[in-house]
């Protein structure tokens, strides 16, 4: 029996788990996929939004600004990549100045610091590749970029360090109440807990509706993106949004923490909660719209495209709290953008609600910091030499595009909540995330996974489940 079962190991679930681990609560996280960060958390703009978008007075606005402000310290404590590079909302027409000023006023009301409007001349200095049409922009110095995988992993790993358990490949099929306790029915059997946190992303409505008469509907809102090679690093210096105008809502163009350029997303409401496929229309739209923001974006440098599903609730507001007709069942739903930014604050809020219901006490031995996978590129030469001497695997480059060593890959596999698949290794180390997209390193990473996990190489998957990469041996059907 657990005190708390968190459903979903995305960024909201993991943040909640980490914050819950501050208390003397026995917590389990259930995840239907094989790893943390497999849904919306892995496929988004990777932005720490400043907080001027959300409606004044909304929970979304409050948690966005709070989450944003927590990022500096949290990124140091939990060792994930975060850069406060600032963001710009570009306006293409003098007549939209009013709308830009309204946006600024909303930001000020939300508590966003240091907002100001920059005119064309300054904008050009800040962003030499800005579109010729851009006349001014709202500059938010507090906007930032973050590695979404790293953020999610860091919080989950830290939760583990503080005693939280994770169970993967487990899909919740139902709930029932027994003696004031929640029995969670899953494909892997039944589990019992006093409190449930529903952080199931696009499936949060499915879970909510199993326990409540007040039905919820989460619409998956698809966003497609293109990622450009690191050779485009420096093409833009800030996260650049477009002010929505008569041409519609634009796409953003932003550097990533790893030095790529990211363009997107589109926005399309769909029905299928697993339809993370990209479409020709979507990719064409991304490419076409990006040219309104910046000029001559080198689309030849696209190395991959992807799509993510935002968990959109009709009211466009975070729904966080105990469900009125389901005691001790806490929703953490409708977490769409700025969900990633807000995650640290969401986690705090969720844990606070549970702690109050449970009358939980803070632990004295909470470990607040986590050390990530060592990135030799960030070490001095002397440190790197010492590392290779101690562990020669750090002298062996496996992914030549991102210069990832065998040492990093072994660490990714063997650490708590370690990677089990190619994508798991990729999210943790960037092996396979570069310009050749795993063409060279995939067979070698498969070998390392099979060796470290002592499993047959034919069992190694791309991303768990039936995503096997090898189907047999040569001539086995002849």
């Amino acid at each position: 029996m657990y005190d708390v079962i968190v459903i979903g190991a995305g960024v909201s679930g993991s943040a909640s788990a980490r914050e819950l681990s501050r208390y003397n609560l026995n917590t389990l996280v259930l995840e239907r996929d094989e790893d943390v960060c497999c849904g919306t958390s892995k496929a988004n703009s990777a932005i720490a939004h400043a907080g001027f978008d959300a409606e004044v007075g909304s929970l979304m606005a409050k948690l966005n600004v709070e989450g944003n402000l927590m990022m500096d310290e949290l990124s140091k404590d939990l060792d994930f990549s975060f850069k406060r590079i600032g963001s710009l909302v570009v306006c293409m027409n003098e007549r939209d100045r009013g709308a830009l000023e309204d946006l600024m006023a909303r930001g000020v009301a939300n508590g966003v610091q240091d907002l100001r409007i920059v005119e064309r001349k300054e904008l050009e200095e800040m962003e030499p590749n800005i579109s010729n049409e851009a006349v001014m922009a709202l500059f938010a110095p507090t906007g930032g970029i973050v590695c979404p995988f790293d953020l999610n992993l860091a919080m989950a790993e830290n939760a583990v360090d503080n005693g939280v358990k994770f169970q993967f490949d487990t899909q919740v099929t139902g709930f029932r109440k027994e003696n004031d306790l929640w029995v969670v029915e899953t494909n892997k059997g039944e589990l019992t807990a006093k409190y449930i946190v529903n952080a199931a992303g696009v499936f949060a409505d499915t879970l909510h509706n199993m326990v409540s008469e007040n039905k919820m509907k989460i619409t998956p809102r698809k966003g497609e993106y293109c990622l450009l090679d690191k050779t485009t690093g420096g093409f833009v210096n800030h996260t650049i949004f477009q002010l929505p105008d008569k041409m519609g809502k634009g796409v953003l163009v932003t550097p990533t923490v790893h030095g790529n350029t990211l363009v997107g997303p589109t926005s399309l409401d769909i029905e299928d909660k697993e339809a993370t496929s990209t479409t020709q229309d979507g990719l064409d739209t991304v490419i076409a719209k990006s040219s309104r923001t910046v000029k001559n974006l080198p689309m030849r440098q696209v190395i991959t495209s992807f799509s993510g599903l935002r968990a959109h609730e009709a009211g466009h507001e975070f729904i966080i709290g105990e469900v009125a007709d389901a005691k001790n069942f806490i929703d953490c739903a409708g977490i769409e953008s700025p969900g990633l930014t807000s995650a640290p604050a969401i986690g705090k809020m969720v844990a606070g609600i549970v702690a109050e219901l449970a009358n939980a006490e803070l632990k004295s031995d909470f470990i607040g910091t986590r050390v990530g996978i060592i990135d030799p590129k960030k070490l001095t030469k002397a440190e790197q030499m010492a590392l290779i001497q101690e562990k020669p695997a750090y002298g062996n480059i496996i992914c030549r595009c991102e210069m990832v060593t065998e040492g990093e890959i072994i660490d990714a596999i063997t650490r708590p909540l370690g990677a089990k698949s190619l994508d798991g290794v990729k999210r943790r180390t960037r092996s396979g995330m570069g310009r050749c997209q795993g063409g060279f390193c995939a067979p070698r990473v498969m070998e390392i996974i099979s060796r470290e996990k002592n499993m047959d190489i034919a069992e190694v998957t791309k991303s768990g489940g039936n995503s096997k990469l090898i189907v047999g041996v040569n001539k086995d059907t002849i």
Binding site: C226, L227, T231, E274, T276, S277, T278, T279, Q280, G282, L283, V302, I303, T304, S305, F306, K381, Q384, M385, I388, Q389, P392, A393, G395, N396, I397, R400, C401, M403, R435, C436, Q437, G438, G439, F440, A442, P443, I457, A458, T461, K462, S463, G465, N466, S467, K468, L469, I470, V471, G472, V473, N474, K475, D476, T477, I478
Partner: protein, 421 residues
């Protein structure tokens, strides 16, 4: 810091031939750096035959062809390091490399020969829409799995792109027991060698669909099918032409890209068409003493030509070490590729520095039948070579002699083009 006269980046066919040639040209101090576990580069996974017809007048497999050069390298007692990744090269030729035993170390070289080869264009770079399940491989990755590890990446295969590796893999997968359903090519012509289309597709009744592309990849975990569509002249899918194929594997053979990240890092000028360095008659880049050869310079069709080019690069690098850069009174003459010719390697020729015979390689941008590859000097046609067929998948060459160029006085430019009969 280590010191060598010539450091060669890459121990594949280009690096091996360059090393042997440099040694035979009189340079003793040579080091080959190879990132993989053995010498030979991509040839190690090319276990089919057809290599060496030009060089050795016999049909060898890739590993056999590589072994001929590895044997020479060993006979010549040329030093090499395996499992060694070059992290950085500076324009004053200090190389930072890394391996398990030595950690990070530096090598100072008098000359560097770039021979890093190329990589395959990935699915992402092709912007193929759909899901991202397991079962989408570049043809070369699948080739490695099958030929070196003995693993089958799939049972029912569709191949997009008719580059040589894709064609070879169509046959290989068939021989290993898979069903290759179709090869689709976006362009109206194949990017591969004619002989490969005949021997790898026709002989196995595998259909080749020109002007077709993949418009959807289905399957959330493993590929379950793909949809092909015909494309119009602008390479856009034509609605109504969709065909669905049930398959568990999609192989991509959609072009090769020279791996020039190191070259860019050290400020070498690049050719936008080849994605390789711009080189002169000596295969030397704009950074003095840094040479390039093989697929890092431009993607070749046959390894024999890689070897031939690398021999020249090795010889020129040796000359640079032994004699220094030769003073030239003549200027660098630009070569201009036009009217069907897409590029030339080299891009300039200096008559004083050129050897008696200069091979100029180029590729054409379309299929041409019964035409000529022609060279003009100062507007005068000096070469007119009859070609029954020229295709983008096959490399072309013309040979310019020092005698010819010397006889033309002040040359403004040398133009290479395709002329219809």
């Amino acid at each position: 810091m280590l010191h060598y006269d010539i450091v060669i980046i890459g121990g594949g066919p280009a690096g091996l031939a360059a090393a042997v040639s440099a040694k035979q040209s009189g340079v003793e101090s040579i080091l080959v750096l190879e990132r993989d576990k053995e010498l030979g580069g991509i040839l190690n996974q090319c276990i089919h035959n057809g290599f060496g017809l030009h060089t050795f007048k016999e049909e060898l497999t890739g590993p056999e062809y590589a072994q001929r050069f590895i044997d020479q390298l060993l006979e010549e007692k040329i030093e090499y390091k395996l499992h060694t990744m070059v992290m950085d090269i500076t324009s004053d030729k200090v190389i930072t490399a890394m391996n398990r035993e030595e950690g990070l170390f530096e090598i100072e070289a008098k000359t560097v020969i770039l021979a890093m080869g190329c990589r395959e264009r990935s699915r992402g770079a092709l912007n193929i829409p759909g899901y991202r399940p397991a079962g989408v491989f570049s043809a070369g990755t699948a080739q490695r799995l099958v030929n070196m590890e003995g693993y089958m990446p799939g049972r029912e295969v569709v191949i997009l792109g008719s580059g040589d590796i894709g064609l070879i893999m169509a046959r290989r997968m068939t021989l290993e027991g898979a069903k290759v359903k179709v090869v689709a090519e976006l362009l109206p012509y194949s990017g591969g060698l004619k002989r490969n289309i005949v021997q790898c597709l026709d002989d196995f009744d595998i259909p080749l669909k020109l002007s077709h592309t993949v418009i959807a990849v289905e399957g959330k975990e493993r590929v379950e099918g793909i949809t092909l569509a015909q494309v119009d002249a602008n390479r856009r899918p034509i609605p109504g032409t969709e065909e669905h194929y049930k398959c568990d594997t999609l192989l991509l053979s959609c072009g090769l890209i020279p791996e020039n990240e190191l070259s860019r890092g050290l400020g070498i000028d690049m050719d936008m068409v080849t994605s390789g360095p711009i080189v002169n008659e000596s295969l030397e880049t704009n950074v003095e003493g840094i040479f390039a050869c093989g697929n890092v310079l431009h993607v070749h069709d046959l390894v024999d030509f890689v070897s031939e080019e690398a021999v020249a690069a090795g010889r020129n690098a040796a000359k640079f070490v032994l004699e220094g850069k030769k003073e030239a009174t003549s200027k660098d003459i630009p070569l201009v590729a036009t009217e069907g010719a897409r590029y030339t390697v080299p891009k300039t020729i200096n008559v004083d520095r050129m050897e008696e015979k200069q091979i100029v390689r180029f590729r054409v941008g379309d299929v041409y039948k019964n035409c000529y590859s022609s060279v003009y000097i100062n507007g005068e046609r000096v070469l007119h070579k009859k070609r029954i067929i020229m295709a983008p998948g096959e490399m072309e060459e013309v040979i310019l002699t020092k005698e010819l160029l010397s006889s033309k006085g002040d040359i403004q430019e040398i133009v290479v083009k395709v002329e219809e009969a």
